[in-house]
Amino acid sequence: MHTETYPQLIPLVILIPALGAFINIFWGSKLTERVSGLIGITAAVLTFIISVLIFSHLNGHHGTGSVINPVIFQTWLRIDSIGLDIPWQFRVDPLTAVMLLVVTGVGSLIHIYSMGYMHGDKKFSRFFAYLNLFMMFMLLLVTSNNFLMLFVGWEGVGVMSYLLIGFNWDKGGALGWKNSNAARKAMIVNRVGDFGVLMAIFMIFWTFGTLTFYQPGETANVCYAREVNNLGACAEESHSEGEAAAAEGETAAAEGDHSEGETVAEAEGDHSEGEAAAAEGETVAEAEGDHSEGETAEGEGDHSEGETAAAEGDHSEGETAEGEGGHGGEPVVLADVDNSKFASYTDLGVFGQTAHYMSLEEGSPERLVQFGTLALDFKTVLFIIVLFLLLGVAGKSAQIPLFVWLPDAMAGPTPVSALMHAATMVTAGVFLLIRSNVFLDYVPEARLVIAIIGSVTALMAGFIALGQWDIKRVLAFSTVSQLGFMVAAVGLGAYVAALFHLATHAVFKALLFLGSGSVIHGVEHGHHHVHAHGNGPGHGHGNGPDDHHDAHDEHVDEAFDPQDMRNMGGLASRMPITYWTYLFGTFALAGLPFFAGFWSKDEILADAFHEALEGHLLLDNLAGYIVLGLLLVAAGFTAFYMWRQVQMVFHGDPRTEAAASAPESSAWMTIPLLVLAFFSFTVGFVNVPKYTPIFSGFMGIQDYEFKHFLESAIPSVTLKESLAFNTPLALLAVVIAFSAIALSHSIYGGNKAVQGRRDPLHVNRSTRQMWSLANARLYWDEIYFRLIENPYNRLSKFLYEVVDWRFLHDYFHDSVLKAGYDSMGKLLAKPFDLGIIDGTVNGVGALVRLLSGRVRVVQTGYVRVYAVILLLGVVAVLLIMLLPLLQVQAGS
């Protein structure tokens, strides 16, 4: 199957995890642990393979992204009369490819890891079902071609995090309740974020008339497309504010380009034979537990088996295939390169239209956006949209106001934390920002806000991480901090740096989480081992699946928290693989030279520095300096708390028997650790900047490979000349890192952290204040509770009891209506009813008796009297009849 048709496989990416989940949900209880696990893993690995295929296609062809329509469920929200048409559409372009790789790669590893980790859990199949569903939603989010489909993935991921965080809700008593509370909190905070995205979506729709990113056949980065097809360079005009002049230079230059791949693939009968044959039968069924009557492509089942056979063993994701794609193919016409083939700009996608509007000069009526009664300039509308998006990102990627849910989310099982709260889900926010980079390009003020929030979050999270005892909570705050880095990078306009850091962070943070998972696993084992020693071996390992689980709450009956670093120590010798891989992760995170973290973090710092120096606007310079300062401090914190963690967990001697007898985790868990460790070292080399002393050109690695790859998706990338390797800045970063580690070593080295379960910093008077603040997480939770949760509850109770029930229901209904009605009734009854009506009736009766008394006398009984009366009557009648005659007579 030649590479052109790989993008066709995109719908499979959604379908396969859905099918896996479907099987696990319905037949999970029947399948054994191993089988359902394998199904989950095959689904994940299959998607990974497809992602690799797509990546290789895009990498080789310099092809700009293409829009793929699903075979079956093409239209979703369609009201023809008013032009509302939001289809299920996929967007395959380098940005998607990178995210696909990250999500599926890390996802597959975590699937494998959780085979081991969740071993023995009675809801094993359900866990895998949820993981697959999560993968499906995340991929839906990543590959969508319009905001609404993205939003479906966005909320879907939110729901899956709700289910996964609350996975252990059925633990008895308070622990179960804490889990479900954490899940509910996560969901609600996410919903607050979703509120922002929803509002942004409304405004986008009313501004552009459509929500689609790129219409089929539209090119994202016109300048790149021209260069690649050597159709003459873009009109190089000063891109001071970073306005991508991409779209306005519609000069026509005819030249061939082999981008027929990108043409719309609506044509159902795509002629890809072999594995893509599944395309015919596939259906996009992204709803989890989809037992809807829609044809769930039973045929799919057999297809996937065939696939896995090929990739079963090596699941080596075949390193980023650098090979140069062939340049052959017929000439590309300029028209379909620079979007002029679309009749009017309104046919373009959202980003194309933005470019057009921004090209109009300020204040022209064209730029006026009409909102019902409101009319705003396009730029202000864009600004509001970006702010709303930022609110959404803050909710999802745990930035300053809405990050509170992430630490609590650690209540979920560790693979969940690793997958969702380190690698994939939390990056969705950053992905959204990167995806809508065209918006950000045109509103520097908005980017400033983003940068500030990002960097402040990084610093704040780093600081809090210093004071945490729970191994996962430290990592959680470190994730928040690193996300802060990414958001800051996006704020600076360094999208590539942000994406690169996202990728590397996903790898080594997943590594750290899985490492911590295996540590916790080990400690638990140790604890049980020790604890169970007393009452016979039987109790030990296999039975009672749930207690085997990582009960990680302080006041669990055994009052032993396997996750609390104070109960660990000296595990290096016990769990070598975990130790070493963990070290790799720590070095990568700390940004020691030549580890992944170093390259990506340095990239961000370099961009910040560059922005500080050459930023055209005052804003940019200022932004640059602030961000650089904050990020450097944050980097320092990062290195410090990571080393603190390594010290407390691995070095020194074990502080509890559990730690002493913690066994190394099973193969299922260690292999992914090794793989991740390998990658956390090598993935950095993807984006080596120019002229780096050793590595530029090392082993045939071109510099800025990653950036070149992304150029076709992100317009502003081609404009900025790629920065040279900024040695002084790099040195500074390295120095900070090493000094932080040294400091941390000095404080926590050699069992110093042991004294009476109190952190040395806490002990040391000068830093006590600082440390307790960090430990208490800057009192965020308390603030939240007092400012939002409590008033909300009290007000709701007040509204219900007082306003609704007592006022509306009782007072208004009973006293006003009913009382009024009753009183009116009484009023009417007494005077009116008795007095008047009865009076009249009785009166008539009396009158009749009176009269009849008189008349009775007439009946004498004598016939003659009757005769007289009769005659009297006759005479009377006659006279009456004659009356008219008389009158006539009298009258005439």
């Binding site: 007289v868 005479v875 004659l882």
Partner: protein
């Protein structure tokens, strides 16, 4: 003062007297007799009012049957000494009675007084009129000046209109349709009879009685053909207006109208009546029954031929007044003969039905141009041989034989046709009354025993006879009225 008025007064006074007598006399028998006399006077009144049958019945039923019954009962109950008992109640009753009587009189009399004593006189039956167009005439073609309106034609029915002198250019026989207009009388607008065809008659239609003038016009061009002709129609009369041709050239008289009026009187019992017009030949005709041999049989008696067949109607003069004749009903062969006994026209096996009146119009047939050489003043015009005779039998008026007013026949007819139901009901009523009388006056057996001990005080042996029959014991002293010791 007419004799009848005088008669009326006498009998009326007698009646009132008897009535008063009846009221006053205290002996029941006397008052009964007075009543009988009263009935007699009333019967006489009926005779004056053309109600002979009712009078007889009055005498028979009222005076005869009812009063006899009264007398019988009076005698039966011995109630003739109706002496007033002591308990005279209601002293005020007599006063009230008189007042009431007076007011009754007043109430009844009032309308008469107000009405002014005159009642609209009897409205006889509306007169019937029919027009027959036998108009064979010679008409000049050029314009004939219309006759000046017959202002003066009031009294003399046969007033002839002076036509202006215009030389006849060319004589043409006219036998087309005629328009007759009737004006005057109590008609609000003129009665117009359009296109009365030649040789036909219109139907009978009733016209309110009164004096009219008849205007004759030719239908196609509305040319006046005759002078306006005055006509009076009396109630209960049937008038047939016949239009005849007229030949007097010099006088330029064109047409004359001959009204034939005859009363609605019935034809004799089983006889049919004929009315004959001769508009055909100047000779006088007569209408005879040829008898079974269907030929004229004549004998000569003292030199003159004598017609043996029965003559229904004789000497029907040309355009003269119509002649009527009546003949028994049956089928005969009739014939019209002229003065020298030649049969002009035969009507073989012609049936005559009783109580019908037929009109026989003898006319030339069709439209024959009068030869130019016709000699205008040859005295009577001899029609050329080419003429054929046509007799058209016009539909007669069928009279229902009107029985005389008030006769038993009349009443009977009405009673048993229109009032059949009431008669039966009344018959039933009488039957019921009969039964009722028997039941009421029959002394019931058991009631009798129960009251055996009650002395019956009946003075007359007749009473005793009843008592014996009914089982009560016989008493001798006279019954005291009024002091009944009723149980």
């Amino acid at each position: 003062m007419g004799v009848d008025v005088l008669l009326f007064l006498v009998v009326g006074a007698l009646a009132v007297g008897c009535a008063i007598g009846m009221l006053i006399s205290d002996n029941a028998v006397h008052s009964a007799l007075f009543l009988i006399a009263n009935f007699g006077c009333v019967a006489f009144m009926y005779l004056m009012l053309d109600a002979p049958f009712i009078a007889m019945v009055q005498i028979a039923v009222y005076a005869g049957a009812i009063m006899v019954l009264f007398l019988f009962v009076i005698m039966l109950l011995g109630a003739e000494q109706s002496h007033d008992t002591t308990t005279v109640t209601f002293r005020w009753l007599t006063g009230a009675a008189t007042i009431l009587g007076a007011s009754l009189l007043f109430a009844l009399g009032l309308p008469l007084v107000i009405g002014g004593f005159q009642l609209p006189e009897t409205a006889g039956r509306a007169p019937l009129l029919r027009v027959v167009n036998a108009g064979v005439s010679l008409v000049r073609t050029q314009e004939i000046a219309p006759a000046e309106p017959a202002a003066a034609a009031t009294a003399d029915p046969a007033a002839t209109a002076e036509a202006p002198a215009a030389a006849p250019a060319e004589v043409v026989r006219f036998s087309g349709e005629v328009q007759v207009t009737l004006t005057g009388g109590s008609l609000s607008e003129p009665l117009v009879l359009n296109n009365v065809p030649f040789g036909e008659a219109t139907d009978f239609f009733d016209v309110p009685a009164g004096d009219y003038t008849v205007q004759l016009l030719r239908q196609e061009d509305g040319q006046i053909m005759a002078a306006p002709y005055p006509l009076t129609l009396a109630a209960d009369s049937v008038t047939t207006l016949t239009l005849f041709g007229e030949y007097d050239f010099e006088a330029r008289k064109l047409l004359k109208l001959v009204p034939v009026a005859n009363s609605l009187a019935q034809v004799g019992n089983d006889e049919g009546r004929f009315i004959l017009f001769n508009a055909y030949t100047p000779q006088t005709l007569s209408f005879i029954d040829l008898g079974p041999d269907q030929a004229i049989n004549t004998t000569t008696r003292d030199g003159a031929t004598v017609l043996l067949d029965t003559v229904i109607a004789a000497d029907i003069a040309f355009e003269g007044a119509p002649v009527t004749g009546t003949y028994r009903e049956g089928t005969y062969s009739l014939a019209l003969i002229n003065s020298d006994l030649e049969i002009i026209h035969r009507l073989d096996n012609y049936t005559i039905t009783a109580d019908t009146e037929k009109t026989l119009l003898l006319m030339p047939d069709g439209e024959q141009p009068v030869p130019a050489d016709a000699d205008p003043d040859s005295g009577g015009i001899q029609f050329p041989a080419g003429f054929t005779f046509r007799s058209t039998v016009l539909p007669g008026l069928v009279f229902d034989t009107e029985p005389s007013f008030g006769s038993p026949l009349g009443i009977g007819r009405i009673l048993f046709t229109v009032y059949l139901l009431p008669v039966n009901l009344v018959g039933l009523l009488l039957l019921v009354a009969l039964v009722g009388v028997i039941v009421i006056s029959r002394p019931s057996g058991e009631k009798q025993e129960r009251r055996a001990n009650i002395r019956r005080r009946v003075s007359r042996p007749l009473v005793n006879v009843i008592a014996q029959q009914t089982g009560g014991e016989v008493t001798t002293e006279t019954p005291k009225l009024g002091s009944g010791d009723g149980s």
